[in-house]
Amino acid sequence: MAIELVKERYASPINTLEIGIGGKAVKIGGQTTLPFLFDEGAMSNPPVIALEMLDCEPSDWADSLRSRYGDCVKDPVKWADKCVKEFGSKILCVRLQSTHPDYGSKKAEQVIPVLRSIIKNTGVPLVIVGGGDDERDNEVLPKVSQALKGENCLFGIATQNNYKTLTATCLADGHSIIAESPIDINIAKQTNILISDMGFDSSRIAMHPTTTSLGYGMEYVYSIMERGRLAAFMGDKMLAMPFILFVGAEAWKTKEAKDFSAVQGIGWELATAVSMLQSGADLLVMRHPEAVEAVGKYIKNAMGEK
């Protein structure tokens, strides 16, 4: 007797989130199945990769990574150009590192023209994340958000303990928001509720479940993402958000990626990214163009494209 495989069917899809405007807007999410299980459901939007760049020269990037970009890293506008025009990135993630106290405490007024130029030159949608200092981010991001009103960016990062300022400003200026939790599905759900309680449309939230890298507990992130996904498919609207994963930043933090050959670093980022895709990632934020190219091919293959 032939063995019949058990196939799951789910009632509720993941939200579709659009970033950017016009013809270059990018959509993520919308799937009705765990990753690439096309016998069980559809993935209306393939996972997307954003190249990550900083708004200032990176001081702690591995040589093998930084050298791939050359001198353009000294000028964020040129850097963005290279990402889009040479490496073909369809969406960019700009980390406003220069606003962090350790990297110069730049004011919003200094950062805004840079972002405007990037948008003007490249036309691609932007993911914009703060420098990581809550106090500075709460000063800078509202002004940046307001200046880019109508550009439909994805702003981060909101956490359970620091979400109000960013939520209010994204709400006012029509941007989407990244809700982060520390590898904890309960806090992920709670953060989504807190943000939506402020009147923010829950379909405009992307979840960051926290990224880790190969060798540093990826399986735990996998299990958290899978659990959230299954709950979402069963109808939990407060977990039905697409996932964003900062794969590049995590992978290139490890000594295995940084301190050895470029090939190993690229491989480390690639392996992490592919694992996160299999965990349900919708938007990967990556750093090395070669790793991005390889993961792009992997996505096409997995989606059944030629």
Partner: protein, 262 residues
């Protein structure tokens, strides 16, 4: 949980009066309030004092549907009253109910087939409510067999162990709970299980407390739906907590609110 709001029932004084005087706003408020409080379907019963049950059923269905498009549980002992409601129902309805008596099942399942409805099956027959779970199970199995005979999916059945007031038949609480667990194993797809919750606390002093304690116990035994008062917030909170504790929803600090956002 499938929550069937119980309040539109002519047995209640105000509702009976509203039906008699055709006070649409009373019924419509009850419909909307129950939906807002988490009901996924509404029970409709013209009550024992209706002089024109068929006409009243039609009026109730039309009155409710003019403010809420919601599945209705058409609740009557009379086939013609149920059918009057079915003819007007805009969403897939539930027939409430059949017993395990052959003539009743024959008539109800014919209607269910004709109108593509779900059916509540009471584990009782003309001789009354059994006093043990074995007999309940036997009657439930009779209903399941009949449904299959009519080519009705067992997933569309709601098997009711029939809950009796705790101050009348205290030993029956446990029998009902154990029946729920066993009903779920009767067939594939598993039937839904249902109780008329408020019955458990009839005539007791702390009705809400008894109701919300019993529903948590019933959910732990596999209950998938209940006819209850969704306006009892503590009862709904208890129901949501029980489901969360059984890992049916992912915990977060605002889990009550999360459930209500669905």
């Amino acid at each position: 949980m499938i929550v069937i709001g119980e309040l539109i029932n002519g047995m209640y004084k105000d509702v009976g009066k509203a039906i008699m005087n055709k006070e649409a706003d009373v019924i419509q408020h009850l419909a909307v309030d129950q939906m807002k409080s988490g009901a996924t379907a509404l029970d409709v019963n013209v009550g024992p004092y209706s002089r024109d049950p068929v006409g009243d059923m039609k009026w109730l269905v039309e009155t409710i549907q003019s403010v809420a498009q919601v599945p209705l549980s058409l609740d009557s002992t009379r086939i013609d009253v149920i059918e009057a409601g079915l003819k007007l129902a805009s969403k897939r309805a539930i027939i409430n109910s059949t017993s395990a008596d052959d003539d009743r099942m024959q008539a109800i399942f014919l209607l269910a087939k004709k109108y593509n409805t779900q059916v509540v099956g009471l584990a009782m027959d003309k001789t009354g409510v059994p006093n043990n779970k074995e007999m309940r199970l036997e009657l439930a199995a009779t209903i399941v067999a009949k449904a299959i005979e009519f080519d009705i999916s067992t997933g569309d059945l709601f098997l009711d162990p029939v809950v009796l007031p705790i101050n009348v038949a205290q030993a029956q609480g446990r029998e009902a709970l154990e029946s729920i667990r066993e009903f779920r194993l009767l067939c594939d797809p598993s039937p839904n299980t249902i109780i008329g919750l408020s019955n458990i606390s009839q005539g007791t002093k702390f009705r809400s407390l008894v109701n919300r304690t019993f529903i948590a116990m019933a959910i732990a035994n596999g209950l998938t739906s209940a006819i209850l008062d969704p306006l009892d917030k503590e009862l709904m909170d208890s129901m949501i907590s029980a489901e969360m504790l059984l890992n049916k929803a992912i915990y977060c600090d605002s889990f009550l609110e999360a459930y209500r956002k669905k």
